[in-house]
């Protein structure tokens, strides 16, 4: 079969007058046989939109202010009801949060403090 070759790379088109000086007078030249896959692109059409896409619902933002779904009393009631059937001897205690003050109110405005120090230096 000689040396005909198939290739996947398309050669650029040759333009000009044929020159037969490169090979022997009786020597045939190989044709270029390309492997192509243009058929695949026939199955690739863009998808046309039918309208604007619905806006994505954003996840609810976390509130900085704590929200209480039900009052603590109601919650403790419902919990008590849930547990009453399981353990009737359970004891409940109400914990009241306390604000603990660490000392006397000693807040001094920064301006006053600076004036006080200036006076001390003088």
């Amino acid at each position: 079969m000689g040396n005909s070759k198939a290739s996947s790379v398309a050669q650029p088109p040759a333009v000009g007058i044929p020159a037969f000086t490169e090979s022997g007078h009786d020597q045939t030249r190989d044709f270029h046989f390309a492997v192509t896959w243009v058929t695949l692109f026939a199955h690739l059409d863009p998808i046309e939109s039918t309208g604007p896409r619905p806006r994505q619902e954003t996840s609810p933002t976390l509130a900085l202010v704590p929200t209480v779904a039900s009052s603590p009393l109601a919650a403790s009631h419902s919990l008590a009801e849930q547990h009453s059937g399981q353990d009737s001897n359970a004891a409940w205690e109400m914990v009241v949060p306390k604000m603990i003050r660490t000392g006397q109110r000693t807040f001094i405005p920064a301006e006053d403090e600076r004036n006080q120090r200036t006076q001390e230096l003088l």
């Binding site: 005909s4 198939a6 996947s8 046989f33 492997v35 058929t39 690739l44 059409d45 046309e48 896409r53």
Partner: protein, 284 residues
């Protein structure tokens, strides 16, 4: 009359919707250029406007512009699988094979059932010479795209020089589409590579029946004729080739070779008859 200084003029600019409506109306009437102009300088960013713009640009063959429009869409709607897929097609048609692979992969990650994206990805991988990946991608296609996926597998296998397997897949394609010119053309190339002249001849003749001016078919038949020293046939096929493709250097050269051989064969008996008169003359 001068305006009081405490009155502020408020100009209410319309949103993008009027522009989109105008463009859609123009597009449906076939005025693509006008439709595109209607979408120029949008008053506000609107992903739908850019989607419509991309569609029109694609239809006009302005794939690079369309890619930019779809890129704007995927930036604001990263979960829009359609936009990623369309972007990939635009990149593919702009010869941006690597970027198109990424866009196809993104579309597939959002919608794994999108077989067309798999097909497109395989085609781009073939161009990138990532043949094993291309083959694996075509294997993942569902039966809905069996024909083109088989063709893709055949091409990947042929380029991997797994010729027997490639031929089997090409036969699958031909079974469903006997007139697939590209399949026959690739089979001619495969026959050339495996040096199977009979197959080259058979596929070439088959292709020539479907497409009488097919260069691949004529080249295949010319090659067989030249190899088998059928000079008249070789000259005939080469002659048709040079008429169809005057810039085909091989065809010109081989036509001359075939004609020389015919002439030599024609002159040989005369030279033998002449005998003593041509004594010492070498017969080719």
């Amino acid at each position: 009359m001068t305006k009081p200084s405490n009155i502020i003029e408020i100009s209410i600019k319309p949103g993008a919707q009027p522009q989109i409506d105008a463009a859609l109306a123009l597009r449906s009437s076939g005025f693509l250029e006008e439709a595109l102009r209607a979408l120029a300088n949008p008053n506000e960013y609107n992903p739908y406007l850019y989607t419509v713009r991309g569609e029109i640009e694609f239809a006009l063959g302005r794939f690079h512009d369309a890619a930019l429009s779809y890129f704007a869409v995927v930036l604001s709607e990263p979960d829009n699988a359609d936009a990623h897929y369309n972007l990939a097609l635009c990149l593919q048609r702009s010869d941006r094979w690597d970027a198109s692979c990424q866009a196809f992969e993104r579309a597939l990650s959002l919608d794994p059932s999108r077989d067309a994206a798999r097909l497109g990805l395989g085609a781009s991988l073939l161009y990138l010479n990532r043949l094993d990946e291309a083959l694996a991608t075509f294997h993942q296609c569902s039966s809905a795209l069996d024909g083109p996926a088989s063709f893709g597998k055949a091409v990947a296998l042929q380029l991997l020089q797994r010729f027997g397997e490639a031929e089997n897949f090409y036969e699958v394609v031909l079974a469903s589409d006997p007139n697939s010119e590209e399949t026959l053309s690739n089979l001619i190339a495969l026959g050339i590579e495996t040096e199977d002249l009979d197959r080259v001849r058979d596929y070439s003749q088959r292709l020539l029946k479907i497409s009488p001016q097919s260069p691949a078919a004529l080249q295949g038949l010319a090659t067989v004729a030249l190899e088998r020293r059928n000079h008249h046939a070789a000259a005939r096929y080469c002659d048709r080739l040079v008429q169809l493709a005057p810039d085909c250097l091989e065809a010109w050269h081989n036509l001359r070779v075939a004609l020389d051989r015919i002439l030599t064969a024609f002159n040989a008996p005369k030279q033998l008859e002449a005998g003593p008169a041509l004594a010492g003359t070498e017969v080719k």
